[in-house]
Symmetry: C2
Subunit: 441 residues, 2 copies
């Protein structure tokens, strides 16, 4: 993409309203724009990040056997009356009346609707297990939305729902998602620690939050520091191997880890003092097993092997991609701006032309731009008339993994300058060596 | 995907509520499920189709220089008061109050919001032209939603918005989208004819609807039949060549074409009688040039080359991917079910195991399944215990381009059966020949 044709409204100054670093950097980098309290437009750079996050989530959901569909944002109030949550949910639910005065709502979550879809067509235990997910906009009418997309009202959520014949099978489905989440967050460059959690309005008796550690985290967390060096389950995980999945979950829940709400000082004291970690955390995922809480009142039953109808055992599994974009920045930035993990970066390379109009610089840049694109590498080509300092500042701010600088002096010596985002020094390389380095990286 | 693990709730009988063939077939094929009047969930098969349609739209928008972002679904009423449309829009707009009694709405379209985004950051004519688009859910509270996703209340829309310094440049932006639309619909397997159109609540003085012909079309259309054999602009279109784009638009508007609303019998009579085509049509896209209708009241101005501030000239360009899914079925089906164009098909191949449990059949199918997937070919593998007849009926119903049948008799003779969806006869081929045919197709 040529920057001269792109839409990336950079702000030179930090906006006053932004209290946390991710919000500041997302506004400054032209990733998002607030359209109302807690409601944001995702500008082109932000949307690319959001899509990259969703791509990783989707790959890991699919790998774990979950099947994607897409439920609508607007739901009928009557559906929520079946589970008893319509009255219970409170003011966070955005309630709506249509032109015929029918009561509707903007879905804050989808347990009821997916249960309705399931019960309408699945009849036999032979069709189980099933795990259905979607990635769709949700609305929760927070009293005080803040921290940008970290706590917004309209937000994107991946929510998956599992259906099983009994508690044991449901536990395996839970473990599948637990494992998929570990893989997802690791691929997004995050160290996420599963912590036993309260189930809140979703309900149920088994639940974990996935928490990443960040100085600016919203709440205090307490855990054994060995979690930070645990290996993530590999590509070879067998999602059909119930015992193998249980072993992964057992390992990742073997040491102490708790959010403030669930913290138990006495139990924490059993962890050797040198290994006790007290830190701030950000919740990036939340999974629940809630048995027949929805299937029982809503009549989502299958015929078991013995010919009897039983309500299915369910779980739900949420990740917020929009919130993750902010969390990844909280975990990866420096004074100059964002430092994206490769999997999430909106472009892999920022190509900087130091002297547009200079025929050598233009020719070298056009050649590099075409060759990188030909290799399937996503490049942002700064072909604008800005000063060199401003161009470097912009590249640091938006946090692309690689910066490739082409200037008249370097070209006279047959070199361009390649730099990895972060503390390292730039390297002077021939054009071919730079291309090879980027292709190999 | 193994059908035994998929979620594709086929209905054997045509649902009573469905009045048109696309609605019937989408329900029967398990593509969609109604969650409220005019509000649908897209089940896995339907979502794959929807994503494929969006993929083609996105490629052609990007090729034409449009830049993708993502605006939220919920908007502030005050934003629409700036343009004067909040009171004018009527009951089709879903109006909402949040917990603080602020007036909001579920966006039926985004002219106001994109104008707000544009004015907040673009200051100079040097940054023009710009064309920004998103693919987002919209809501229009139709009095009587019907025809399934053809006229639903919550629907997906690609809406692009162009910004130019003056009318002449805006005309080129309009022509870019006109050309991109011709390419988009052709790639989706549709013969779309641009017809001069009324501008309705969007406003402006230049507008075209893109209409496909289908017996079940919602309205009468009248055109010169030569349009049906016009060549579509190729991959080599230069979207920076204003004269070339104008020539394309001139050609595609040179003959008579009008919807019922704009029809002029006297003008139509100038077309030779043998070339006059009266048919039913379905609107699949609509483009508008409306000058400064929004930029003027909302203060979206840039500084021109003469140093003076002028309101920008705008256009908007809509395609409904959810409606297109139905329109493509209206244009392509037979008595047995859907006939998808290759670009849209949810899977390229349906692999049918006639005798699951037979070790030869299972081994041959597993081998074919792995090899096809290895080639990047999307396969739906029917590994269920259904009868052969039911399996064939399902494959015909869901309309995949190719059906590959593996049975014990054929295997004994070293052959499998390959059939293209449609009237042709099946072919008996060796496994390798079948693989080669599918890879080459």
């Amino acid at each position: 993409m040529r920057l001269s044709r792109y839409f990336m409204p950079i702000l030179r100054d930090a906006p006053k309203e932004a209290e946390i670093v991710s919000h500041r950097l997302m506004l400054r980098a032209g990733m998002i724009r607030q359209e109302a309290a807690g409601i944001y437009a995702w500008l082109p750079l932000g949307l690319k990040v959001l899509n990259n996050i969703c791509h990783v989530i989707r790959e890991e959901q699919d790998r774990a056997g979950a099947i994607e569909l897409m439920m609508p944002t607007i739901q009928l109030a009557d559906l929520w009356r079946e589970s008893g949550r319509y009255d219970a949910y409170g003011k966070e639910m955005l309630r709506i009346k249509d032109r015929h005065d029918r009561e509707m709502l903007y879905g804050p979550t989808n347990e009821e609707m997916i249960t309705e879809i399931f019960r309408s067509s699945v009849r036999s235990y032979k069709d189980l297990p099933k795990n259905l997910y979607h990635i769709q906009w949700k609305f929760r009418d927070e009293v005080r939305p803040r921290f940008g997309v970290m706590r917004s009202r309209e937000f994107l959520m991946k929510d998956a729902y599992s259906f099983d014949l009994d508690k044991e099978a449901a536990r395996t489905s839970y473990n599948r998602m637990f494992t998929a989440y570990l893989r997802t967050f690791a691929r997004l460059g995050l160290k996420a620690i599963p912590m036993a959690a309260d189930t809140g309005p979703i309900g149920g008796d088994l639940s974990h939050e996935f928490i990443i550690l960040a100085k600016t985290g919203e709440s205090a967390v307490f855990c054994h520091e060995d979690y930070l060096s645990f290996d993530t389950p590999g590509l070879d995980v067998d999602f059909d191997d119930a015992a193998g999945l249980q072993a992964i979950v057992d390992k990742w829940t073997s040491l102490y880890a708790a959010t403030e709400e669930m913290h138990d000082e006495a139990k924490f004291a059993e962890t050797p003092e040198a290994s006790r970690l007290s830190a701030r955390g950000i919740e990036v995922g939340h999974i629940f097993y809630f048995g027949t809480k929805y299937s029982e009142p809503m009549g989502a039953k299958v015929t078991g092997p013995d010919g009897k109808d039983v309500p299915v055992h369910m779980g739900s599994y949420g990740i917020g991609p929009s919130r993750l974009a902010a969390a990844i920045i909280e975990a990866g930035h420096d004074d100059a701006g964002i430092i994206w993990p490769d999997t999430v970066a909106p472009f892999k390379v920022g190509l900087v032309n130091l002297k547009p109009g200079d025929s050598n610089c233009d020719a070298a840049c056009e050649d590099l731009y075409a060759k990188l694109k030909g290799q399937g590498i996503d490049v942002l080509y700064d072909d604008t008339d800005d000063r060199a300092g401003a161009k470097f500042a912009t590249m640091d701010l938006i946090g692309l993994p690689w910066r490739l600088v082409v200037g008249p002096k370097g070209l006279a010596n047959g070199v361009v300058e390649l730099k990895r985002r972060g503390p390292g020094a730039p390297e002077q390389l021939s054009v071919d060596a730079a291309l090879n380095a980027l292709t190999a990286s």
